[in-house]
Subunit: 330 residues, 2 copies
């Protein structure tokens, strides 16, 4: 089903029931955004993502820069400096060479901005009706400092939850052009490489324990995964969550919840409360962290559950969806 | 066009005119099967391939073990010991979970046989009619000994051309099941991991200068690429080229030339003539090299051209095709 690719509970069951047992090994079992391992004494991160976003060009980005930034960010969420990238293209017969050139140019620019080199690639072409323009799979290698210890199961009671910026722009940007919707102002994808921001944060404190980029499934899904990995509870403050008014308006029209909408240039960090001010100051000084805010905290129970104090004073559970609200968003 | 993915001159022009200028860097410019670079003092190889073979199950293999062995072999052709692999799946909505399980199991077995760990992955699902069952992209990381110097532009006059086994089985195996052809005996794909064979060869001599696995476009295309990279001529002996009789028979019926048919467990090596006997002996002692044979030699001109002395005594040019004789063979 489409939902098996949506990043929600169905994707998780595919990973836990099929892939993880088959490829059983210590590194994979960590189930992080990227694999982290030692190779000849160096601590490396390695990550891959397939991109099937529809349409391939959208306000603020293309499938090309998304494919670069997405893998760069998976590495960055392991605390790794991105170094080398591979890119494999599955093209549908008849796909416009001009559009391909545009996509490749945007990849090249994104790679330069992220400081990563595209060093390996492959191209396959399938018949008309066996693809959808172009699918791109990138894989990336990054280097991690020895002292860094970032893991999704590192969250502890007393940590605060920080989000780096305004949420929901990527999903709404893609959806609006796909569905031909107009919201007065154009909402642009937030796609961006996050390693610079991560470096600023770990420059402020070594106690950044959990990092995650809330892509498919949005902030809600990422926080649920952290809560489950660390067996802790998370309590969000609805009024603290930064949602741009135009994303809020679009979500209301479309019946979507911005907490579940995909982001491509946003990160979530869990840091000890005493380090929060220092980390926030470092984030605010970075162009991608200007709107960073504390949106909640880690509590002891119920473990694995994300709750939210709403604007009207109630409390509700923020659950994981079975799939993505919007298919083919990345 | 389909031929842009066929591995022939159209694929080459896509790489040289579009990808190489956009992703301009020293490592990519080598245009090897994999990228080779130093990282924190270690010499690594990094490679990616997208697999779109149709059908996904064929005699002797599946898209899954093909995707493992193909990337393992790209690393091995750089002289690299395969260490870590990533795998990204693009599934078509409605694809059978049972077939997926079979494919994943075959990947797991292939990874174990090749000594590589699958440490990172991703899954996306696209709507019916936007894919074809499953496409898999793998990327791999390997380690290269410091003293090894394997490059496609290293061929020199006096080298002999060795092929590791009987050619043409993979392409014919896939085609026969796709087209529902029967040839009396079932021709099985030769898909296999080649690093063990490479290690046996470099154990016999350090002077293995060129390695290539003749996949898309077959032996003819691989040799043309070597001839162009090294600006040398290659003269083949038709009667020395090991083609299984059943592949020959199938090729005759289908109007194909076995020299252009894809292989997935065969390598070509160029070694100095004086080392040929030692390398051949090492190859013959390895299960994947039992039928290894010298099939030609490097000559000084015309540079970039592959010629063949035919069985009847004539000489003809073995040119590169614009695409693959058979689309979606890997």
């Amino acid at each position: 089903m489409l939902a098996h690719g949506g990043g929600g509970t169905l994707t998780n069951s595919l990973v836990r029931d099929l892939f993880a047992p088959a490829f059983n090994n210590e590194v994979l079992d960590d189930l992080m955004d990227g694999a982290v391992f030692k190779l000849n004494g160096s601590r490396l991160a390695f990550s891959t993502d397939a991109y099937v976003v529809n349409p391939v060009i959208f306000p603020g980005g293309t499938i090309g820069d998304l494919a670069v930034n997405g893998t760069v960010n998976d590495l960055a969420m392991c605390g790794a400096r991105p170094v080398h990238l591979s890119a494999a293209f599955v093209l549908e017969e008849g796909f416009s060479m001009e559009t391909l050139r545009l996509i490749v140019t945007s990849m090249s620019e994104a790679a330069a901005a992220a400081g990563i080199s595209v060093v390996a690639g492959d191209t396959k072409v399938v018949e008309r009706g066996k693809g959808d323009g172009v699918y791109i799979t990138t894989a990336g290698i990054g280097i991690i400092e020895d002292w860094l210890e970032i893991r999704p199961d590192n969250a502890a009671v007393g940590d605060v939850v920080i989000v780096s910026g305004l949420i929901g722009a990527h999903g709404i940007a893609v959806l609006s052009v796909r569905e031909g919707l107009e919201f007065g102002t154009t909402i642009r994808s937030d796609t961006a490489p996050l390693y610079g921001l991560v470096r600023a944060m770990i420059g402020a404190t070594r106690e950044v324990y959990v990092l995650r980029d809330p892509t498919r499934g949005g902030v809600a899904t990422a926080l649920n995964e952290i809560a489950r990995s660390s067996s802790i509870g998370i309590l969000l403050e609805e009024q603290a969550i930064p949602v741009p008014p135009e994303v809020n308006a679009a979500c209301e029209i479309l019946g979507l919840d911005p907490l579940y909408v995909a982001n491509e240039g946003i990160l979530i960090a869990l840091v000890p409360k005493r380090e929060a001010d220092g980390v926030l100051a470092a984030m605010h000084a970075h162009p991608l962290g200007r709107n960073a805010a504390v949106i909640g905290k880690v509590i002891d129970r119920p473990p694995g559950v994300v709750m939210m104090k709403t604007r009207v004073g109630g409390t509700r559970i923020i659950d994981m969806l079975s799939g993505e609200q919007l298919p083919r968003i990345c």
